[in-house]
Amino acid sequence: MTLAQDASTDTDPVPEGHVRLTIDGRVIDAPKGELLIRTCERLGIIVPRFCDHPLLDPAGACRQCLVEVEMGGRPMPKPQASCTMTVADGMVVKTQHTSPVAEKAQAGVMELLLINHPLDCPICDKGGECPLQNQAMTSGRTDSRFTETKRTFPKPLPISSQVLLDRERCVLCQRCTRFSEEIAGDPFIELLERGAEQQVGVADDKPFQSYFSGNTIQICPVGALTSAAYRFRSRPFDLRSTPGVGEHDSGGGAIRVDTRRGTVLRRLAGNDPEVNEEWIDDRTRFAFRYLSSAGRITRPMVRGADGVLAETSWTDALAVAAQGLAAAKEGGIGVLAGGRLTVEDAYAYAKFARVAAGTNDVDFRARPHSAEELDFLAGHVVGQGPEVLSYTRLEAAPAVLCVALEPEEEAPLVFLRLHKAVRKHGQQVFHLGQWTTPAVERTSRGTGAASPAAKDNLIPAVPGAEAAVLAALPSHVVDALRGGGLGGGGVVLVGERAAEVPGLYSAVSALAARTGAVVGWVPRRAGDRGALEAGAVPTLLPGGRPVGDARARAEVEALWQLPSGSLPSLPGRGTAEILTAAADGELAALVVGGVDPYDLADPAAAITALREVGFLVSLEMHTSAVTELADVVLPVAPDAHRAGSYVNWEGRRRPFEPALDASGVLPDCRVLDTLAVEMDVDLFTQTPAAAAGELERLGARTGAAPAAPAVPAGEPRRPASPGQAVLATWRQLVDHASLSVDEPALAGTARPALVRVNAATAERLGLTEGAPATVRTARGMITLPVALTDLPDGVVWLPGNSGDSRVRALLGAGHGDLVEVTA
């Protein structure tokens, strides 16, 4: 984008790829193809508009942005829509500032827009931040000549549990329907009827169940689409806005947090062209009432001699915790950091483990994991920043392969980029997965009304066989990933589920070596990537330094001002092994951050370990299964009350400041720092800024990246009896996640929990579409309605934590395990 700059004289040469035109008497050079309305913006001339949106295709529907245009010395006979006309050399443009024709055309359209508008600004959520209201002031008449009858509709119409439609306020700019079609790719909403009766609507049996529906509320230029959760809660001018970062996933989306009198009332998408453009998913937008949910822990608690947790002072709680940990140090302390930490907090956990607990038994992975994963992360991911793989680079890639990653469910911003790349650049997106999910369908180049429904971009694999399938990819996929020899080849995105498939990370590594494709690791949680960088891992110190590398340890010891050789040199244990050790008495105490045992591979074993371990310190926002067993519970601050930063999947640091008063609540890094002081150790992580500063000074490792893993491809499990099937499972975006509590409007847009099998498997197992089926293990069972889906034979799919399907908690099984299925 060229900056706004008046060309000084007409004699300067026009830069390559530009044209020179005159707007309101000012000469300006504009890149070819630029829309007139943007060129005007660069000159500081704001032409009123409704349907125009810089990230949507031009529509020319509202006709508010009419200007007078002269081409080749001849005035065009009609005023032109500046949102659809591109600049041309020698064009002379007169906006409302210099053309009475443009001014009258704009005033005329504004008067027409208002004749059927209810003019109910005083009771409208949009009032005060409404483009219609604002532009009616600048371009409208002071009074209306319309004395006839206005068109009315019943209102509001809930088009989903979280989006309400007021058709009377709608100016039919089509931003919402175009967003759904062009950006989200799931047009649940469409225009219905015609003329003045035209309206936005949904099909009878299909509400607006999009994960991105909240964006339509934000881009609606009037108050036609409002949020059920925010409706009538505030006036925009009473809100205090703070930039923030999405904490629900690893996308790092920029958000705006709007608060009033100490309460977060709503969140909006921030504008970061490099990351989330202007879009966020609905969970990031709507799920924030965990801040005030009943389960919030606000006071420290200590378990008394009577075995009951009781609130106490920070001083007391920290002393008890420090005493217990100091006593346990001899017997060994394990640190489970959890995946929702800021990078500063994760650094504090990493340092606490090494310095206060004297161990490498620290792991952020609150989910199934593997040693192969650690090797992969050390070899491919840690230290890699957006200069290697960013959203922009991802969008530009000719081909992308998603492995063990369901982008729309796990990383919605990644999904939006893929969808954009497919639509705008014809990117080929392949998915190594189990069925043609909505995301697979919408990232197919065959998407569109005119194309057959059959998609060709799913590379199906039985759970457990993914590594073998990856090793023998169809040649057209391999060729696409090579990128045809052009600079900037393909991209392979791998999700955290790969840890559940032996050999899969190794196969990804081998594929990257074979094709030159760039590898991106897209974890589900916001804190995973930062925790990796911060060294909250058993094999790596901060900056990706291997714990077994004496030089790397020495670097860290120097900065931490520790005696040489004081850092433990033996690699630590992963989450599951730490818990096993705790259960076996090999560890005397555990420090547990935001870990939900039901997210782990074996929840029952984890709970046993937490119960058996001698001393358990929990740092948490909300009560959980850990709280019930903890000896000391230390409340930690949610993002709204603190500063910090996440490292998103790109490796990009995403800092944020507190949106609400930060007094009275402490971030993890501060709690750990104080706890360490009580244990006579200094962490120097009193504030997130201090922690970030130290991590920054440590920098990245200097040596070569460790070798990538080379674990042989595993074999999928074979059903031992006809009633068995291989389980495929992953989490859906809107589910029972602990940070999505108390959001009934959001929960109403969750995808239904269904058990999925293909038709042949259903027949063999005696299942009927729509009828209930039961999936069973020795631990328990889940009963859900059946949906016939294009899964491989003998595979059954369940959502990880939706509706009645809490796979880990109820079945104790995971992706690739064998389950019994009956009608």
Partner: protein
């Protein structure tokens, strides 16, 4: 008197079972196709250019030039499939030429489609017929079946190696789908609303491929041009508007009907053909080409009805739907009925047409009910000014024509309706209500 008629498109209409392929073949049908298939496609485009044939759907765009815009060649845009789409969504009030053409002589349209497809190198042609016109849909479908059975359609037509399939598509009853890009969206199964131009259909039409969209009457003229040659075609009509044209005379005349005459005929001559004004009641006003063309009065009896003549007199040739109204008809009432049509048919995409027609109808209905004021006339003119040239497609412009032209010629009639009303303007209901 009948020597004013030039039956070219209508010449078979009175033959027994004129719509059957047997009758058509007996009356030189499909001879032009045989000639055309021996020519080079570019020669056919040149022939139509030379003939001066202009689009009969209302805008009068030179047909040969339109065909020439279709990119050809093995690479780039020319490599895409090309399509011919026939606009048979005849819906303009008063217009009734395409439906009788398809009823009486569907094979002339089909033969024209084949020749045109051959010329623009299309292997697929869609005929988009207005959904309410059920009988013509059945008739054209049957005629297409007949043409397939005789080898005029399908693979290797008449041994030429040229393949063509024709699909007859029934619209769903929307006036807007007569706008060519809305028609294309509708044909693709989408909501019928006009597309942003550019890109134009010639480069990105049906399924984003090069597409010619032509009116029924235009394409039905093509076989005659191939048979008769461009000189013969130019022997009729005027220099800039050559050829014959079907004038659909309706309203208060003795013999309403289709009169095929050279372009440039006047209403005075058409009235002679139609037996004069019904019952001798004098002419009051008339439309030269449907309700979207500004209306004329008795002073325009001698305006030559070709593209240039109608425009010079302040109207448009349109679809040559000549609606004749005698002195018994109230102009505001007629304008109100037309405006009700436009309000009903506005697609809703753009603000001026959607909201403007909604407003205008209410003012007109109020005036006709005797509750108007003189300021309403000025308001209507201003609303029309805010619609004309501000709307997305030409439908909005067309909606203003009857009102502005009616006020131009019959302002007093509108004012007379306000006689019962006090002079003061109506009180606004609120500051911005």
């Amino acid at each position: 008197m009948t020597d004013m008629l030039t039956p070219v498109l209508t010449r078979r209409w009175q033959s027994p079972r004129s719509w059957s392929i047997d009758t058509y073949e007996q009356l030189e049908g499909y001879q032009a196709l045989r000639t055309a298939l021996t020519a080079h496609p570019d020669q056919l485009i040149q022939l139509v250019k030379d003939s001066g044939l202009r689009g009969r759907g209302g805008a009068g765009f030179p047909t040969g030039m339109k065909w020439g815009f279709i990119p050809q060649g093995p690479d780039g845009p020319g490599a895409k499939p090309k399509y011919l789409v026939i606009n048979a969504d005849e819906g303009e009030p008063g217009t009734c030429k395409d439906i009788p053409t398809m009823m009486a002589d569907p094979h002339s349209l089909i033969e024209g489609c084949i020749i045109t497809s051959f010329a623009i190198r299309a292997n697929f042609c869609a005929i988009y017929i207005r959904g309410e016109a059920l009988h013509p849909i059945r008739r054209v479908r049957h005629a297409v079946d007949e043409a397939y059975a005789k080898g005029y359609l399908g693979k290797d037509i008449l041994g030429s190696g040229f393949d063509l399939d024709i699909v007859v598509h029934a619209g769903a009853g929307a006036y807007i789908c007569g706008e060519e890009t809305a028609l294309l969206d509708s044909l693709e199964g989408r909501r019928g609303q006009p597309r942003l131009k550019p890109p134009f259909p010639a480069t990105s039409g049906l399924y984003a491929s090069p597409t010619v969209v032509n009116n029924v009457e235009t394409i039905a003229s093509v076989p005659a041009i191939v048979q008769g040659g461009s000189e013969w075609f130019r022997s009729m009509g005027t220099e800039k508007s050559p050829g014959p044209k079907i004038y659909s005379v309706s309203g208060h005349v003795e013999r309403p009907g289709q009169y095929e005459a050279p372009l440039g005929i006047t209403l005075r001559q058409l009235l002679e053909l139609a037996g004069g004004m019904k019952g001798g009641i004098p002419l009051k006003f008339w439309t030269p080409g449907g309700s979207s063309t500004p209306l004329f009065t008795a002073e325009h009896l001698d305006v030559p009805l070709d593209f240039e003549g109608a425009a010079a007199a302040g109207s448009m040739l349109g679809t040559t739907a000549v609606q004749v109204f005698n002195e018994t008809v109230s102009v505001p009432w007629a304008v109100m009925k037309w405006t009700e049509f436009y309000k009903h048919e506005s697609c809703g995409k753009c603000t001026p047409c959607r909201e403007g027609t909604y407003w205008l109808v209410q003012i007109l209905e109020r005036m006709v009910a005797g509750e108007g004021t003189p300021s309403d006339v000025e308001t209507m003119l201003d609303i029309c000014d805010n619609i004309l040239g501000r709307s997305f497609c030409a439908l909005g412009d067309g909606a203003t024509s009857p009102i502005t032209s009616a006020i131009k010629y019959f302002r007093q009639e509108f004012l007379d309706l306000c006689a019962a009303q006090p002079v003061a303007a109506p009180e606004p209901a609120g500051a911005m209500a």
